[in-house]
Amino acid sequence: MSEFGYIPEAPEQSFGNNKGIFKPKDIYDLTRADKYTNYGQLELIETKTGSGVSAIDFTAIKETEYNVHLLTINDFNVTTDGQPTGIRLSNGSFISSGYQWANQTGRAGGSFAENRSTSSTYLEIGRLNGNTTNEKLNGYVYFYNLGDSSKYSFLTHQTTYTNEFSAEYMMSFGSGVRPTADTVSGIRLTSTSGNITVTSASLYGIKEYS
């Protein structure tokens, strides 16, 4: 019997080359060892919550395993009216300079705006956030190249929310970059002033196989 319990012991299992009859536990163990063929997955890395915290940090993002990460955000709220929703990246410590972003926002009242920066302390994915019960932001962010030390790190996002002005509906979509080539090992969800509350924030990796 093999170390994973399948019968027969030979041949050795590897991704793209599985043989034999497997029990559920075999599949579980082989999957954890990255030896079970299952092409392409959206893999949950971690889910976090926070209430009245300065930031939610993901510090074990498995950047060497994924070219693309997905962050979903459920009910982001700020304690200080009017603050943005921001992302900071870590290359060992979280970085507070050198970000660029370009976002289109729109409000149900009819106001649309181009929001951009070439020298930001964060990557913006929402603005004019509110601090009352019904002023919440939801959305997603895709991150690219975080584990590639030779490339810039990019993101795209779309958020849908009710802003600080009596919970007026607002949306944002856009792109961002940290134009420095290094390995990013952490993602921080935060704001620029005050604390944040988030019902849940889930980080996924998109598994690709060559």
């Binding site: 392409g40 070219n67 370009a102 951009r116 990019f154 598994k207």
Partner: protein, 169 residues
Amino acid sequence: MGLIQVATNTVSGTSTNAIDLVGTTTDDVYMVAITNASTTSDGQIRTRVLVSSSADTSSEYDQASKALIANASFGNDALTNQNHWRFMFTGNQSYETQSAIFYLYNFNSSSEYSFVTNEVAGWTNTPRLYGLQGGGVQTEAQSCNGIQFYASSGNLSDGSQFTLFKVVS
């Protein structure tokens, strides 16, 4: 939402002009993830649908996107009756790469147009952050079994990666 990888292609070397991702053969929604994509000459990475694994070059591609630029006013990128979609504006330097997520709709249906949404973040040859978010349609009701990405000038750069997923529940 889950993803099942259908096809992938990482460009090796500098002699590949186009890559095909084949496998949109069910009525599910499909997703393409693109990282580290660029071209050997300044230009564009363009996109076409595949019909029976061949690129459809007919002038039936329409698109509308918002161009999101970090150091300038945004633009509207709208085209009709082209023989391709253009969602990525490329440079040929090391850091001038494109990252993107596309969702593909109705590709397998022989009675529907094929639709795509695009969200792109790229570093262009200017250089500057240039994003493009919007969508497009190919206005022929036909079954498309995949999608092609090609360089408008020169070839795709070494390391450009394109992966097709089927979206499953």
